[in-house]
């Protein structure tokens, strides 16, 4: 498992009903591509986060499949239309099966 993985998300605290809000996420991770060589000249095995899923009150909003071409400490921003108050749930899946999660609330009205 990759060490020191820390997800950060930025969701506006408040929004009006029907607003399209921008959500920014960042997660610290090496995103080892599997093509880099270590000091011993051997390839460092691939170890990346390959999937990111975002739901709002349990309903899917946005999903991303990531390949090794995504930079280390992956950043991802996207939009969501909010009609009611609720909670965004973010889930990142690592190559080794580890899951990193974070939630963030938004008040609408």
């Amino acid at each position: 498992m990759a060490k020191g993985v820390k997800p950060r998300v930025r969701v506006p605290k408040k929004a009006a009903k029907g607003d399209v809000v921008e959500i920014k996420t960042l997660i610290s991770h090496n995103m080892e591509s599997g093509r880099r060589k270590g000091k011993d000249g051997k390839l460092i095995p691939r170890s990346i986060i390959n999937k990111m899923e975002v739901t709002f009150n349990g309903k899917p909003v946005f999903t991303a499949d990531w390949h090794p071409a995504i930079s280390a400490n992956p950043y991802m921003s996207f939009f969501a239309k909010v009609e009611e108050s609720g909670e965004f749930a973010f889930k990142w899946t690592d190559d080794d099966g580890s899951i990193y999660e974070k939630t963030s609330k938004i008040t609408v009205g």
Binding site: V20, V21, S33, R35, R36, K37, F56, K59, P60, V61, F62, T63, A64, D65, W66, H67, P68, A69, I70, S71, A72, P74, Y75, M76, S77, F78, F79, A80, K81
Partner: protein
């Protein structure tokens, strides 16, 4: 004519040109050598076909936001947005990103829903060198769009 005679017959300018030419040839050799391992337009086309089938993509609708020149290929900001009302019966399902000069053409697949509100997202990617970024958008009605933009990369970012 001996080599010495040939050299003396050559003007200074010719000699400089010849030297410059040799350097370019040498540099070209290096580029070719490292280029063999990388993807090309054909591999991108194959990767696109694998994901969307044999549909013919149309031009338009997609806007790619990329720097013209990226100084560091390790982290190149990329933004993509697709013109769509994003309603329940007319929305962008997926946007696939490809890079035709990386060791592998796939970069990311972004799946949107009507709850996304707008089909727009941004991330940061690795680019091994100057190359084209290709975006392919699949709409909910089955139509497919494609856009492409070149990025010049000063220092490649794929390790190895």
């Amino acid at each position: 004519m001996s080599t010495k005679q040939a050299l003396s017959a050559m003007t200074r300018r010719e000699a400089l040109l010849l030297a410059a030419g040799a350097t370019i040839v040498a540099a070209g050799g290096v580029v070719l050598k490292s280029g063999t391992a990388n993807a090309d337009q054909k591999m991108v086309d194959e990767a696109v076909m694998k994901l969307i089938g044999d549909k013919k993509p149309a031009e338009g609708k997609i806007t790619l936001e990329l720097p013209q020149i990226a100084e560091n290929g390790n982290t190149v900001p990329v933004g993509v947005s697709v013109d769509s009302p994003m309603t329940a019966d007319n929305y962008v399902k997926t946007v696939h990103l490809f890079a035709d000069g990386n060791p592998a053409p796939d970069v990311a697949s972004l799946h949107f829903t009507p709850m996304s509100g707008k089909a727009s997202a941004a991330t940061r990617i690795r680019l091994a060198g100057t190359q084209n970024i290709v975006a392919v958008a699949e709409m909910s009605d089955g139509s497919v769009f494609r856009a492409q933009q070149e990025v010049k990369v000063t220092i490649g970012g794929c390790g190895g």
